[in-house]
Structures are given as C-alpha cells and as structure tokens.
C-alpha cells in the first residue's frame, strides 16, 4: 500500500510543480516569481523522494529552497523588483 501512496504523491507533486513553474514564468513581480520557484523546488524534492533517491533530497532541499532564493533575493534587492511589460 505504501507503493501506491508514493505513486500518488509523485503524480500530485508533478502537477503542483507544473502549475508553479507556469506561474513563476508568467508573474511580473519578481519576488512572487521567486516564491513560486521555491514551491516548484519543494515539489521536485518530493518527486525525488518517491523515486527512491533520498541522498539527492538531502542536497537538493538546502540548495534549491535555501541558497537559490537567497542569492536571487540579494540580486532583486540591489536591482529592480518589477519586470517591465
């Protein structure tokens, strides 16, 4: 039964990552786009976990949810927050 739960988790997280990616690319406010890309990274971490790769999850969560947004947050703070239409 745990196998079925892992498969369903995989599918649901895939759909969530698709929606989050679309919103992150379309959004004009770069801060919101950054948050959507963090949501996408979290969904990818769940996908890796259910694809039997726990060592990737241990590296991926600090890098993709912690360091990527931190770096880009510094860049957004020092430059412009809104993308011009």
């Amino acid at each position: 039964m745990t196998g079925l739960v892992a498969l369903l988790l995989c599918l649901i997280m895939g759909v969530i990552s698709l929606i989050a990616t679309y919103l992150a690319i379309v959004e004009r406010d770069l801060l919101k786009a950054l948050l959507f890309s963090a949501v996408q990274s979290t969904a990818y971490a769940f996908i890796y976990y259910s694809l039997a790769a726990p060592d990737i999850v241990l590296v991926y969560i600090p890098v993709a949810v912690g360091l990527y947004p931190l770096l880009l947050l510094i860049v957004i703070k020092k430059t412009e927050r809104y993308e011009r239409p």
Partner: protein, 142 residues
C-alpha cells in the same frame, strides 16, 4: 494492476517534465528581465536533473517496490545483497545529479554577480533596454 499504475505515473511524469522544460526554456529565451532569466535557468537545470533520475528508476516486476541503493545491514549477507540487486534503483544517475546540482549553484552565483555588475554599469536589468543602449553606443562610436 500495480505495474500498470506505476507505468502510467512514470509516463505522465515524463510528460510533465517535458512541459516544465518547455516553459522554462520560453522563460530563458523570451522574457526581458535578466533576473527572470536566472529563475527560469534554475527551473530548467532542475528539470533536466529530474530526467536523469527518472532514467535511473526501475519498474519492478509484480508487487515489489524499488528501494534506495543503500546497504542497510553491515556486514551484508549473501541473500541480502542479491535482494538489494534485484530491487534497488540505479545509483549512477543519482551520483551524477548530486554533482550537477552543486555545479548549477556555482553557475547561478557567477551569473548573479554578472547581473549585479550589468546593473551598476548600465542602470537597468531589462534586456531590450540593454540592446538599445548598445546600439546607440555603436552609432555614436562611428
């Protein structure tokens, strides 16, 4: 029923990752803001890493569930090793992806520093304005 379901989830994950790659490629190529290009670049590299993980996954026969490629018993017995070989996923793509994640972090740090430098020099992070300034400078230089 279980292997069919697993195959369905596997195929739909491939479709979802192809869509993610396409959307982020659009973001890299067509979006004007340089920071938005960086965000799309992270999503792009993560999607390609997910493809590598997905290639290393295996669909076991019957009701067997794939396990992580980790020996949980030291010292391992003979039957334990043969059971691990029969059910574990491929560890090679996982090792490669571990390296690729760190490399993409370094590339992102370099590009972020470059974007900051461009902003200090030209006062904008918009790719169209940068192209316009460059054309204007070329015309004035002649």
């Amino acid at each position: 029923m279980m292997p069919d379901m697993a195959r369905f989830v596997y195929n739909s994950l491939i479709v979802i990752l192809v869509f993610n790659t396409a959307i982020s490629l659009y973001g890299i190529l067509a979006r004007p803001s340089l920071v938005k290009k960086l965000i799309a670049l992270t999503i792009f590299s993560d999607s390609l890493n997910s493809f590598a993980i997905l290639v290393g996954y295996r669909l076991c026969k019957g009701f067997e569930q794939p396990v992580p490629p980790i020996v949980t018993r030291i010292p391992p017995t003979q039957e334990h090793i043969s059971k691990l070989i029969a059910t574990a996923v491929d560890p090679l793509p996982q090792a490669l992806v571990l390296t690729a994640i760190v490399i993409s972090l370094a590339v992102l740090a370099f590009l972020a520093a470059l974007t900051l430098r461009i902003y200090y020099v030209s006062g904008t992070t918009d790719a169209r304005s940068l192209a316009l300034m460059r054309a204007r400078a070329a015309v004035e230089g002649e």
